[in-house]
Symmetry: C2
Subunit: 216 residues, 2 copies
């Protein structure tokens, strides 16, 4: 398999092309780190963007939905698959420049396009749900009650093959024009990080159940 | 003005309706706290979702773009405005239940739909850019070099009236079925927070420039 996705006109940005990458490992790392993504699809001819959870398994991106949710209903009505754009974004820093113009954000994002299919096969659906659980924290799938057949049927999962995919990354310092560098406005980065706090046990959890190692 | 947005069929979720709210103050708080949003629009008939920065000014949502970027080009070609869906999502906690089925995420999201217009009036554009700067950190607009006329012309801004808007919020504990409560899997919340680190001055910043109070 190629180490990079093949660019298409749809995955070639019109601006800041130097920030685009098609490297599979870079794309995978962003998708794997992002806790949620934003799923775009058409409903009654208009764009809809909804947050959802996802997990990558090799070159398939699984998206979690409920069977009665908008994307699942739309996908059921699209026999050739539901045309989607899935975007996952990590914000790494605020970029403050001396000039208003050059303010920016350091980020890493992935945009994946294609036709998403409804996962109906119970074995694939279970695999997808395990990936979604392990995406929360690796190890979680082995440490919870697996779905019953009825629960599995009540859970919606969409699958998107990762084929038309690009990542976009901005890193590093603010870039001010030379004539602005002597201005006395503070310039630099404010790093940002999605930080987990200490786990809070459910009120009705048996106090004898310890915090599992994958949460510590 | 009503204290709530008027629900429409497009802003009524098909699932978990009890999590939906149309309260203006709740919507504003989410938009104001979210650093970025995801902008959905149609390009060549297909959905596209891109991350961008935004700022709310009363009941207008301003979106930052570059003049050559996809959404700006599409908006220029849509005289009645570009049909968009703008979604901002804050992730508050991982929700771990004893059963796979009841895993979830505590989140707050806003979905705003409508026709976005290109902001061409220089005075409104400047107001929008000041809002975008103050959205990074309140006070920043007064502490940087304002754009020149040429820079202003090179910056793209879209405006969306907040009219067809809803928020969706999940809070609180995992909800397991009664028969699962005695299972010995850990259940509870892992709180998440986008945390700023200490500001990192630009390598070429005059060391005499102090970190401004709004970043401390």
């Amino acid at each position: 398999m190629d180490t990079a996705y093949r660019p298409t006109p749809r995955t070639t940005p019109t601006r800041y092309r130097e920030r685009a990458t098609y490297d599979r490992r870079a794309v995978h790392a962003i998708l794997d780190e992002a806790l949620i993504c934003h799923l775009g699809y058409l409903s009654a001819g208009g764009p809809v963007v909804l947050p959802t959870t996802h997990a990558r398994l090799d070159e398939t991106l699984y998206l979690h939905g409920s069977t009665g949710g908008g994307p699942m209903l739309a996908a059921r009505e699209a026999p050739a698959g539901l045309e989607v754009c899935v975007t996952a974004t990590l914000v790494d820093a605020l970029v403050l420049a001396r000039s208003a113009m050059h303010h920016s954000v350091n980020f890493r994002s992935v945009v994946a396009r294609g036709a998403a299919r409804v996962v109906d096969d119970p074995a694939e659906k279970l695999r997808a749900l395990r990936s979604l659980l392990d995406h929360i924290r690796p190890g979680r799938a082995d440490d919870c009650r697996m779905p019953t057949g009825r629960e599995l049927a009540a859970t919606g999962v969409l699958a998107l093959d990762l084929a038309e995919v690009s990542a976009k990354v901005r890193t590093g310092e603010p870039v001010d024009d030379p004539e602005d560098q002597a201005l006395q406005h503070w310039a630099g980065l404010v790093p940002l990080r999605l930080t987990p706090g200490p786990p809070v046990p459910a009120a009705d959890l048996d106090p004898a159940v310890p915090v599992p190692p994958y949460l510590a």
